[in-house]
Amino acid sequence: MSETMINVDNLTKEYGQFRAVDQVSFKVHKGEVLGFLGPNGAGKSTTMKILTCFLAPTAGSAQVAGFDVFDQSLEVRQRVGYLPEDTPLYRDMTVLEHLEFAANMHGMTGDRVGSRIKEIGGRCGLGDVAGKLVGELSKGYRQRVGLAQAMLHDPDILILDEPTSGLDPNQIAEIRALIKEVGKEKTVILSTHILPEVQATCSRMLIISGGKLVADGTPDELRAREKATRYRLVVESNGSAADALKEKLTGVSGVAHCKKVAGEDGAHTFEVDGDAKNDLRKSLFRVAVDNKWPLLELSRQAASLEDVFRNLTTGEEHKS
């Protein structure tokens, strides 16, 4: 594997009595797009604020691009592009002024400022609004200004806190495409609580809950961890009672749980849960044939990331 860009070691952050981040450790390698998932208040933003040197850890340490976030914070900040949650920007500046300000803060001078703004502004689709006040922009454009600003100084690492929150589906698709493109050459960490986003953009995901790291792996790996498999079964009703069918289905060996759910008219729809090791499709089909039920649909549904996420994050909360 390529070099480690971010190394977080037993990171802990306490706000008074409250532990927002609890001994979290992980590594991010060059070229990875890491999705940082968790319910609201799980400690995602706090971790990102520590990595960008806005807050100091209570215990543990973190290195970004080989520099310690506490002892060498200036070096870290030179190499990181950060998009804070809710994209705070100076509303009284124009887009161009804002980007010039950021470029100057990063020590860029002369022609480099203009050429860099032109390049990044073009990539983020800001050409049309360069002269507009930031405060007058729509949320989607503000987000793009924030992203452009984060990438302006060509950082090795991008840290994006909820980059797509509050955007419409078109804007979300655009931002995701942009992140994916950037992720080819840079290391990206992005936080979100939208699961399809992780599938669409990330090569690896971390799930954090109650300040603790509860999962770390590729989306496929995490899905495979889910033990139950769900089957969907649609049978034409023909006047038969749903309860009788349900009873028969529950009787099939390997079925843990059977539930009638709402479905199309004139048919009964069931969700059947079984363990992931055995394929129950054959037995379910046989039951239908034996009882002469007109089978309209039978499918196996892979465990979704939603299930993984829900199981991991609600379980932790009950314990603590």
């Binding site: 806005f54 200036l74 804070p84 009284d92 500046m93 300000f101």
Partner: protein
Amino acid sequence: MSTTTTVARREIRTYFNSPVAYIVVMVFMLISGYLFFNQLFLEKQAELRYYFTLTPLIFTFIIPAITMRLIAEEKGSGTLEMLITMPVRDWEVVLGKFLAGMAMLGAIVGMTMFYGITVAVLGPIDRGPLITGYLGLLLMGGSYVAIGVMASSLTRNQIVAFILAFAISFGFFIFGQIVQFAPDWLAPVLAYLSMGNHFESFSRGVVDSRDALFYLSLIAVALVIATASLESRKWK
């Protein structure tokens, strides 16, 4: 260091893009103009002494109005996080904000040069006290600006920042006024801490390094506290 000037430039631009600067300049000109022309037309005296005597008091509320937004606004709107995660040291941010406040002070004080010119047109002018008086205004005003920056760093609410800065500034002003009522042991301390006392010699044309040192150390202390307050976010 270039980050300091970048921060300062941005703040100055914000001042003049918003009505705040113009309102504050107008209010200050209104008050000081009244004081000056009152003297000119009623007493038939073209001089700046009266203006100089009352400025320490006027500054106690004019300058907090300039400085209140400097850091508190960024804390409130969240832009502080964006600013401070750029490669900039905390003291550079504070210094940049202070310099922007000083530029604003310079603009206000500069406008009153008009009175000096009026006096010069009407008769021979004693240049010494005029120049040292303006130097004193900048030094004393600088102390108020630094106090304002400090107050602004302590809260995310601009109104609180204004009231706090006003209270502290007014405290330093009132020390000079209550010296005569204070017990003997306290009087010299109060006299030393008074904003007006140190300014008085400047307005008389005397530059005493002790007076300058008083203002400069007040500025330094206030800015160090502001920096510490900014850094304290890390430990909360």
